[in-house]
Structure formats: structure tokens, C-alpha cells
């Protein structure tokens, strides 16, 4: 009569729970534990080594009065908005283009996708070089006789972040395009037929019918892009190292430099806590809309 008794709850699916242990540990120890540890230490004046000497919000006050942090935030905003908008737009346009039953689709797709295989370090180096006014694009164009042509984004503090953006887009849009492409291919072919019979031009069909239908694809792309944006670090280090001056600093670099270069852990922790907070500010409303809202709808 083994089956008659209701088994102890915790033992049911024991295997599954055991198998999930690495995940549970990672979630709890790394993502929760370490995060809390970091937040706690952001209220201390730890320098090179973590200490529990609490100083209240001093680190935050200092943070928000530091010009470099403000520049970093501003840059992140430009870079973030830029890469979100351009990645989505370019990714979608390219996907739509590739969806036109063109020849050489595979070749074109591979060409667009390959940069995704390269590291940010490599990407940064290559673009640093191509954008170098001495022998890069500016040099070439001047060679054609346009003596006054100026294209030196990496040496102009006002637009340097867009120089970084160009490289970032080059690296990442291919992946977004592939996602978009699979989203496009997932749309019922009859929708296209219906719109042709209705006499809707293609671009209108994309705009008013297909894009709204690709919402889940866009959400996926959005999540992937934003996860990348907040972490952007290697690219900047390799391409400009934050320069000229501090014009292309980003928060992740600020954190890193505070912790290790300035040996002010507390400051670094405060900055990383702010980064986390901004992630939450973006994620929570989204999660609410995505999951919470659905229940109300039904």
C-alpha cells in the first residue's frame, strides 16, 4: 500500500530539487547574497579592503556630486537609448530586407552576424583604428580631395559616445537581426496574403500588422539589448578607455575604477548599487506589465 500515504512534500520530485541545486545556490548566494553584501558595504567607507565602518549616505552624496559619475550616467543614457533604438530599428529593417526572398540570403546573414562572434576588445580595437583621423576614414576621405572632411568621433568629447555606439552596433545588430528574422518567419503567412488582398502596401503591413504581432520578439530583443547596455565596459576600455578626458566614461567603468584604481570600495559599491537600482527601475514595471497585467486582463 505504498501509494496510499500522502508523501512528505519535500521529498516529492526530490531529483528535480537536487538537480536545481546549482541554480538555487547561484541565485541565492551569488545574485542575492553578493548583491546584498555589495549594498551593505556601499554604506561604509571601505577603501582597499571591505570594512564595516558605516558612514550613512556619504558615498552616495559624493557619488552624485562627482562629475565623472554624472558624465557616465549621461553617456549610458545616450548609449542605451542609441543602441536600443538603432539595434531594434536596424535589426528589424535588416531582417525585413532579408525576408524579401533575396538571393544569397545565407551569405548576407553570415556577414551581418559574424561580428557577434568577436569580443568587445577586438571590436573596440578595430573601430578605434578605423575611426582614427590620422589614417582611418577621415584620412581616406581627405585623400579623395575633401580636405576639410572631419570625422574623428573618438577625439571629439561631444560625440565620442556615438563613436562607441557605432562599434557596439556593428557588433550586436547581427544577433538582433537573427532574432527578428525568426520572429518574422514565425508570422502566419496568411496574414500577408490577407493584406495583399486588402491592397495594403508592404511597408504599411509591416508597420501596422506585423510589428504589433512581433511583440514577444521585440520583448526578447529588448531584454537582451538592455542586459548588454548596462554592462557595457570592455568596449569602452578597448576603444577609448573613457577618453578623451572623461567624455566616454560609463558607469561600469566608474565602478571598476573606483574599486580598484582609486581604491575606494565604498564608492564603487555605491555606484554599483545605483546601477542595480536603475536595473530594477526598468525591470519591475516591465515584469509587472508582462506578468501582473495579464492576470487582470483575463
Amino acid at each position: 500500500m505504498a501509494g496510499a500515504k500522502k508523501p512528505v512534500r519535500i521529498l516529492r520530485n526530490l531529483n528535480a530539487k537536487v538537480a536545481a541545486l546549482p541554480m538555487i545556490t547561484t541565485a541565492l548566494v551569488i545574485f542575492v547574497g553578493c548583491t546584498i553584501w555589495t549594498i551593505v558595504h556601499s554604506f561604509t567607507n571601505s577603501r582597499l579592503l571591505p570594512k564595516l565602518e558605516f558612514v550613512g549616505f556619504d558615498q552616495y552624496e559624493r557619488l552624485w556630486s562627482t562629475r565623472r559619475w554624472l558624465v557616465s550616467i549621461e553617456n549610458l543614457a545616450y548609449f542605451g537609448i542609441g543602441s536600443l533604438v538603432f539595434s531594434l530599428v536596424i535589426g528589424f529593417l535588416l531582417a525585413a530586407l532579408l525576408d524579401q526572398k533575396i538571393r544569397f540570403e545565407n551569405t548576407v546573414r553570415t556577414i551581418i552576424l559574424y561580428p557577434f562572434a568577436l569580443s568587445f576588445i577586438v571590436t573596440g580595437l578595430v573601430w578605434q583604428w578605423i575611426l582614427n583621423p590620422e589614417f582611418g576614414i577621415q584620412h581616406i576621405v581627405r585623400g579623395f580631395g575633401f580636405e576639410n572632411f572631419v570625422f574623428d568621433p573618438l577625439y571629439n568629447p561631444d560625440i565620442v559616445i556615438f563613436g562607441v555606439l557605432i562599434a557596439g552596433l556593428w557588433q550586436g545588430t547581427g544577433f538582433i537581426m537573427v532574432i527578428m528574422l525568426s520572429g518574422l518567419r514565425g508570422i502566419d503567412g496568411e496574414i500577408w496574403k490577407a493584406s495583399r488582398i486588402d491592397g495594403i502596401p508592404k511597408w504599411k503591413t509591416y508597420l501596422f500588422v506585423v510589428i504589433p504581432m512581433m511583440r514577444p520578439t521585440f520583448v526578447t530583443a529588448l531584454v537582451l539589448i538592455s542586459a548588454g547596455i548596462i554592462k557595457v565596459y570592455d568596449l569602452v576600455v578597448a576603444q577609448t578607455n573613457g577618453g578623451p578626458g572623461i567624455a566616454s566614461e560609463v558607469p561600469a567603468k566608474y565602478v571598476y575604477d573606483s574599486m580598484f584604481r582609486s581604491q575606494n570600495l565604498g564608492q564603487g559599491f555605491a555606484a554599483s548599487t545605483m546601477m542595480l537600482l536603475s536595473v530594477l527601475v526598468v525591470l519591475i514595471p516591465w515584469a509587472y506589465l508582462e506578468f501582473g497585467g495579464r492576470k487582470d486582463g483575463k
Binding site: 562629475r67 575604477d257 581604491q263
Partner: protein, 389 residues
């Protein structure tokens, strides 16, 4: 045993110099030098060094600028106490100036080995550039500024400057002493006197710095040695850079006084700082390694090693009792200044990394953003000094 030594000396002259240490270590002891070079500047290397020490898997020895960078590591008991070696070999007597050893000392114990003296206060000038521009090689900062337009017309960049933050802030320190005088500098950096930082005298310094900013337009290089290379090849008139630049001139086969000349203290105020590099030895449980560490420590201060190393590096030895016959024109100038005691402490020893990197950030921003006036920069500078500890 194999002793891993980390450092960030990867440019031509630096690498040649460090090779001397390695050679000496390999030849004179039964230990092996394992080179752990990390490229980039100290800014890249330091986090790696520190996290390795914290991570419990330290290297055998590591370069760090002596000064306050290692303070906490020492306090946390992560560094090897070298007092016994120092006392046995009488470091107090041989190290000159003694302030170098002081900055290795915490609570009376010695934790590091200074290996050289570096001073930032040099202006390196390219003879070829001035020749091409048809003006005489200047002998001080004022003449240099005056010659700048001629250089510009000849298609030269008057002042070469790399884009890394420490270069600009170093140059600023140099101008500070040269234009503002040593007293002002001391007030600010030693006493952390914010009023002095906000004084009109300091404004002049900032104005001079802005002038330098103007002169460096068009020098689109990152690394200091790339900037030095512009001077070597005559693309640029001059560069404000520490004495390590000398190593590059040497590697390029140039002769001081003929192909290039050097102006300590910008030819205005010939005071040298006595910064420099030092080696620290993280503590390990392995007695063999500890022994090897101590051997390396004493070897680094030996006369032969000091001479060989510093000749390559272009820096000055930390012992007053070695003679550098082989030294060239510029080094001799430096030795003389050192001998007559016109020295000042290095900023690294006085300011916490936190404060120096704040200043570095400010100056880097100022340097790259021409819309920032000297007044604006000074105000923020004074602020940082006021909050420094």
C-alpha cells in the same frame, strides 16, 4: 623556486630595464624570475594585482608605486615585513634620499623596496622639430610657448601629450611647481590647504595649463611613449614627461644634447620629485618563497642591479653611493639636482589614490574639453583638496 613578479613595465625601455633585474635574479640566486607583465598603465594592472593578493593567490613580488597605495594591504597583514633584511643590510644608510624608505615604512616596519627615483619634472625637446621650424631650441617654458606658433606653421604639434589621465595630471603637477613655486605646491599637496588651491597664484597655474592644452591640439595618441615617439621623430616640439621617457630616446639611439634636450622643472624651477617605483612582497605561507622574496629584495638594492636597471630605465638610482659614469647628459643633470637637495616628495606619497584619481579625472576632463575655463577647473580642484584626507 620560481618567483612570479608582476609589473606593468612593457614599453621598450622599461622592458629592457626589468630584464636586468630578471637576469641578475636568475644568475645570482638559484631562483627563477617568472615574468608577469600586465600591459597598459598602472590603472589596468593594479586591480589585477590587488585582487590577486586579496584572492589569496598572490604573486611573489609586485611593482606598486610606493606611497599610500599599499597602506591598507599592509595593515591587513598581507605584505611581507622586510625589516630584518633592511636592518641587516643597512638600508637606512644607503638609500638616498631617505624619504624613499620612509614611504615604505609603516609603524616602524619596512614593507617595500624602492628601486628607482622618478621625477616627472622634465620637458623633452626635439631638436629636429625646432630646426625644421627655424627657431632655436628653447631653454625654458616661456620660450617654448613663444616658439609654439612657429612650430605650428611648420606643421608640428608643439606639445605632444598622450590621452591617459595620469599623463595630464602629471604634467599639471609639473606646471604647478614650475609656475606656482614649491611653496604653493606644498601648501596644497602636503597641508591640503584649499585656500591655497583657490588662490590667484594657483589660477596662473591653471592658465598655464590651459596654454599647454592649446599647444597640444592635434596630438591624437593614447600612450605616453607614442607621444615621446612624436618628439623622437620630430613631429612634435616637446613633451612634458618623467625621466623614464629617456629610456625611449635611448632605445631609439638618440643622444642627449644633440638630438634632444631636457629641461628639468621646465627650465624654470629645477626641483625634482622623488617618486618612483617600489616592489612589495605579498606574504605567503611557504618559507621557501619567503626566503626567495627576501633574496630578491636585497638584490634589487644591490649596486650592480641598481646601476644596470636605472641606466636602462632612464631613472635615478636610490643609492647615493653608486657612480653612474655611463649616465648621459640628462641623467647627470638629475643627479646634480638630487645631490644639492632640491627635492620634493611625490604626489603618490601624499594623496590617497582616491584623491589623486579625482584630480586625474578633473584634469583629464579639463584637458579634453576646451570649453572648460581655468576658473571652473580651479574651483573644482579646490573642492577636491578641501575634501582630501
Amino acid at each position: 623556486v620560481e618567483l612570479e613578479v608582476t609589473h606593468w613595465w612593457t614599453s621598450g625601455g622599461e622592458a629592457a630595464a626589468v630584464a636586468e633585474f630578471a637576469k641578475a635574479f636568475n644568475e645570482n640566486t638559484e631562483h627563477t624570475w617568472v615574468d608577469g607583465a600586465i600591459a597598459g598603465s598602472g590603472g589596468t594592472a593594479r586591480p589585477i594585482i590587488i585582487s590577486r593578493i586579496l584572492g589569496g593567490d598572490p604573486m611573489g613580488a609586485t611593482q606598486l608605486n610606493h606611497g599610500r597605495q599599499a597602506e591598507e594591504l599592509i595593515e591587513a597583514g598581507l605584505m611581507l615585513d622586510l625589516t630584518d633584511v633592511a636592518e641587516a643590510e643597512g638600508w637606512r644608510d644607503i638609500v638616498h634620499p631617505t624619504s624613499l624608505l620612509d614611504s615604505c615604512t609603516l609603524d616602524g616596519r619596512i614593507y617595500c623596496v624602492p628601486v628607482n627615483i622618478h621625477s616627472f619634472q622634465w620637458l623633452w625637446l626635439s631638436h629636429q622639430a625646432f630646426e625644421d621650424a627655424g627657431v632655436d631650441v628653447p631653454t625654458n617654458w616661456g620660450e617654448f610657448v613663444a616658439a609654439a606658433p612657429a612650430l605650428g606653421e611648420a606643421g608640428k604639434v608643439p606639445l605632444a601629450m598622450g590621452q591617459q589621465g595620469w599623463q595630464t595630471s602629471g604634467a599639471f603637477g609639473v606646471i604647478n611647481v614650475a609656475i606656482g613655486g614649491l611653496d604653493l605646491w606644498r601648501k596644497i599637496n602636503v597641508e591640503k590647504d584649499a585656500e591655497a588651491a583657490a588662490s590667484p597664484a594657483m589660477l596662473e597655474v591653471f592658465q598655464a595649463f590651459a596654454q599647454a592644452r592649446l599647444l597640444s591640439q592635434g596630438s591624437n595618441v593614447q600612450d605616453w611613449n607614442m607621444a615621446t615617439n612624436m618628439v623622437i621623430t620630430g613631429q612634435a616640439g616637446g613633451q612634458i614627461m618623467g625621466d623614464w621617457a629617456q629610456g625611449e630616446f635611448q632605445v631609439a639611439g638618440q643622444v642627449a644634447g644633440e638630438d634632444y634636450s631636457c629641461l628639468p622643472g621646465l627650465g624654470v624651477n629645477a626641483v625634482l620629485d622623488t617618486g618612483g617605483d617600489a616592489f612589495y612582497f605579498p606574504k605567503t605561507d611557504d618559507p621557501e618563497i619567503t626566503a626567495a622574496q627576501k633574496e630578491l629584495a636585497s638584490l634589487m638594492l644591490s649596486k650592480e642591479a641598481q646601476v644596470a636597471f636605472n641606466l636602462k630605465k632612464g631613472s635615478l638610482p636610490v643609492r647615493g653611493d653608486v657612480d653612474l659614469d655611463a649616465a648621459n647628459d640628462c641623467m647627470k643633470k638629475g643627479l646634480d639636482i638630487l645631490a644639492n637637495g632640491s627635492i620634493m616628495p611625490s604626489g603618490d606619497m601624499l594623496l590617497t589614490p582616491d584623491t589623486s584619481s579625482q584630480i586625474e579625472d578633473l584634469l583629464a576632463e579639463f584637458w579634453s574639453d576646451t570649453s572648460m575655463t581655468p576658473e571652473m577647473a580651479q574651483e573644482r580642484y579646490a573642492n577636491i583638496i578641501a575634501n582630501a584626507d
